[in-house]
Symmetry: C2
Subunit: 192 residues, 2 copies
Amino acid sequence: MNVGIYIYENAEVLDFSGPFEVLSTANRLGNKNWNVFLVSEKHGLTQARGGYPINSHFSFEDHPDIDVLIVVGGIHTEELKKSNVISWVSKVADRSMKVASVCTGAFILAEAKLLDGLTVTTHWEDLSDLKSAYPKLNVVNNRRWVSQGKYITSGGISAGIDMSLHLVSELANLGLATETAKQMEYDWQKNT
Amino acid sequence: MNVGIYIYENAEVLDFSGPFEVLSTANRLGNKNWNVFLVSEKHGLTQARGGYPINSHFSFEDHPDIDVLIVVGGIHTEELKKSNVISWVSKVADRSMKVASVCTGAFILAEAKLLDGLTVTTHWEDLSDLKSAYPKLNVVNNRRWVSQGKYITSGGISAGIDMSLHLVSELANLGLATETAKQMEYDWQKNT
């Protein structure tokens, strides 16, 4: 199974490193055959938020098929203006089994018209902006993540860790998700 | 103020990305003049655990003075054998105001003889190994982090986020640490 995490300039560091940690740890503990990788528009160094120097494994041109797509937040506004990014997200989502967003990554999924009619969430600071920019979405607060079958959106930054643990429980089982949280000494906040 | 985070091959991803997220977010929210950077032995790409392609800002040869040194965990055993790494850690720690470890980064500080006589912690799986390898340490469990003035050690992986928020409260104030946790939607686990 291929898990692709989309990163870009000024992506929030924990938005992508949290899910990478969760999914690669689950992969190791569970002896899964998951390939967890980062994808960026082009090859080369990406400066994530705060000047964090991350490389991707693949570019838009050369990544393998993606079964699970994770779109992260940060300073996402430039991404919304890039038609090649939005069409790439739309195309990959179409062929994926699961599509998840962390934080303001929900805006990117919404711009690709993937969330119309769904119940979704984002960072607490951006709930009203998401609601007004995309009125077809049912935006809710006070949820770490919202699963709508194929599409899962999560709240801000560290909520992406909770959502990724939920993803592990869906892609494998609850036991592996619980074991991963314990390995990470992470207090998994499940939705009530 | 310069905050240097030491990374190496197979360093645990969340061990360094968590503290980077906390300290760079606090820097932004608090309009501080903190320079948060990653340091590796040499320049170039470092493969963190799970094949995470991270670059450092500086090498041992060209980093600026470090006021706060953070040494992270992961597959740390190779690091213990490198005399240049241990002597670098020892030398930098000597000139720093604060020195912290995340997870099994405590072994690296212990190997540099920086923790003798101190009360410390590490990842729950490694507590007994730390105790037997370094009998001069007072190793404790069930603590997210242990502050001993200049030296702070933390538990496994995500405990480094809790410890970094504590660092923010020491380097700035509790208000900024609380605001940073809220921005990250992180449920800060303080020590009881």
